[in-house]
Homo-oligomer: 247 residues x 4
């Protein structure tokens, strides 16, 4: 831990910036917004940004709407070693209580997206995502993906890696669903398989858990995550009234 502590002290400059769009600041702003959307309640979910050769990751198990830039881990994007580990965080007055900050358990899943060129990844526990995975399993089976078509908001979803532009209104959106595992990092293999099986997808649902969404940059990842969450909520409401997802 001495060397980690050392690297932290030397590398605070990696997370300190007055620019609100600096990744360390932006992750805090985004997570506060995601909290109000119900995506990261109870310390769940998270967000990570890659900027040039640095990957910024929020720690595990902290109140996501209260994140501070100095809470961030910074990883070398090539070697996946930590360039900065945040300090133990003392909280709640002088009660003898501290959180030894650990990197998000989502880190290997975030890396899987970064390895495919992503610039930002978002992990949401949105209840709409969870409900959609349950409905799909009951109605179409464990092998089925989520499918919906002819809803305008589908236009918020990119066509796929290396392709220009977004899906059209008449395109069918498909989001793969993988089964949850006991440990979050054990999702990595299934996530990568889903990425291979659905090479155009920028999102993978996790049954009874939530969703991983990524994009070339923050703008694209956030737009997609919001668009999908809109579609999942709409899909649940449609199902409550017996309206089909596919015409």
């Amino acid at each position: 831990m001495a060397s980690a502590e050392q690297s932290r002290i030397e590398n605070d400059h990696l997370v300190l910036s007055s620019d609100p769009d600096h990744p360390a600041n932006l992750i805090c702003t985004l997570c506060a917004k995601f909290y109000t959307l119900g995506w990261v309640t109870g310390t769940g979910g998270g967000c990570s940004i890659r900027h040039n050769q640095h990957i910024f990751v929020a720690p595990s198990g902290v109140q996501k709407e209260l994140l501070k830039p100095t809470d961030m881990f910074v990883m070398d994007a090539n070697t996946n070693t930590y360039l900065r580990t945040p300090q133990v965080r003392w909280s709640n007055y002088d009660i003898p209580y501290a959180i030894a900050l650990k990197p998000s358990q989502c880190t290997p899943l975030f890396l899987a997206a970064f390895n495919r060129g992503a610039g930002c990844t978002i992990h949401s526990h949105s209840q709409w995502a969870v409900l959609v995975t349950l409905i799909v399993e009951r109605e179409f089976g464990k092998e089925a993906c989520f499918e919906i078509e002819e809803i305008e908001q589908i236009k918020g979803v990119p066509k796929g890696r290396g392709k220009q532009g977004n899906l059209g209104y008449f395109d069918r959106l498909r989001i793969p669903i993988i089964e949850n595992t006991a440990q979050e990092e054990d999702l990595t293999g299934a996530l990568e398989e889903a990425m291979d099986a659905y090479p155009d997808t920028y999102a993978v649902l996790v049954r009874r858990h939530g969703i991983y969404v990524w994009g070339d940059n923050v703008h694209k990842a956030k737009t997609l995550c919001e668009s999908l969450d809109y579609l999942f909520q709409l899909a649940v409401e449609m199902k409550k009234m017996g309206l089909p997802w596919i015409k």
Copy 2:
């Protein structure tokens, strides 16, 4: 693009004002509010204001809650040519990523309303609007409009163009519904037909998409859009419990 760039530089004064009610500022405030209402999630939806001979339009494909006055296009209301085009927008720190701002794809639809005397138009992707279009189609067919009566909030809807005052409690509200198209601008014809077929309406629903709402000024357009969204949400909840919209 040289001339567009030139016009931008010369015409920044069109969008810079310390008055919070200046259209360029007001569109930003309104879109941030609409975001919290779920109307413009995932860069969807939008808002446009006509002020004297200038039409202010937000760009396409940007985070609507983060709009800045300098993001606005300004159009000549008579010639429909651009007096100002916003600069390319760099975002997300120094990541080599920029959005070349394009006018909202809703522009021709906004113009259809301005050509009928509107001072403000709002385009919402509200899920309540989308659900209402689905329920109407299933229960009353593709030709039917949305109809509801004897709900107090109907009083938030104007009687019609050139008529004084708003609908009464015992008046039946009718909002026409048009079918969605692959390209947003291709809605223009059907929108204008619905405007002609329902000359009193200040709003047109778009199936599986959302709604276009306009008014003589910002106050009236916002009041109507909120009133309709209230009625759509109520209508969906009524339908869930088997309560009829028409007595």
Copy 3:
């Protein structure tokens, strides 16, 4: 209008105060909060406070979350004449558009409560209130009131005028429902009849419209209005799942 204008100018001191608890300031704060709760969307609903011999009333047809203290009417509580009428309100930049502010159409209904000793009245268009009136009509008929029992939040409802304390957990809450009318002021007679028929009530539901709630002071009216809204929302959710309101 000359004398009204004169009284306004002389009586601005009635609404100008740096005290956030001054009624003219408090109505603005409360209405902004009520807007986020969905009670006063689309200029609907409102709030009025009596302070000693002055009654403060917000104007009709304005964006309730944007109220300013100078928008307030002030009425003499004894004579019910206006001591101050607000100025015409110019809005939306220099667009030639102004609202000639009129007192809330709820004013006679607010007065009915003030005449019974209230210090604050709230009028909400909450969808939960509207849905409850529809469910009661369908299930128990037009003469029935809303009844619920054995929910802890009932303890937020006062026992009745001249009685100490609030209802208990085992008390049955009853809120009368009156039929809506074309003009809001025409509700006054039915409201007063309901007040007489249910002398302990501090609230009257209006079918297909919303609710009037009052209290000895702002604290009590707000607490009651929130408690009832909680109970109405819960009642609707219970009904969706076939759970009865009365044991």
Copy 4:
């Protein structure tokens, strides 16, 4: 009252601090957040923090989102006597109206948790918690607890007192339910029995009322309360669509 008044004046230093994490400040911040989550509407619910030998308790019957540090009671954690009682609170301008602040009726319930080592307790009136108690009673009977399994957010729930870490994805979460009583303090016996019967639980549901949640510190209590509320809301939505809580 003279001695209580005396102790208040002498002991204001117990609640005055510029540190936002001081318990007296933190209770205000938390309650404002809980208000937006719908947990403490209509003065219901509350929050208490133990810090070393001091227990900080918010008063009963006040607007929870408007709490001030000077509203706090401070109790000696060993003797359970009050070291500080807040002043009568004048509110609403100079209307002759004041609330004589009384300690929360939840105080004996909070103490039951503090006596088992808790550092923070939260009492929520969340409608999701209430609905879950009604569904469990109807489907599984009065003796049944709430049970759910294989939802990722279960990982936000600690394993139990004296045990390291949180429940796993494949662990079944069980939250006991006690019957409500006329007086809140009369819940204490049943709460303590539930604590004994479910020694691993950090939360007890109260039928038709809400939930008591506690934790070793503020961080853990808040994380648990959010995680449980998420699970209750999800459980209600699952039930609406006929999806089972247990596989």
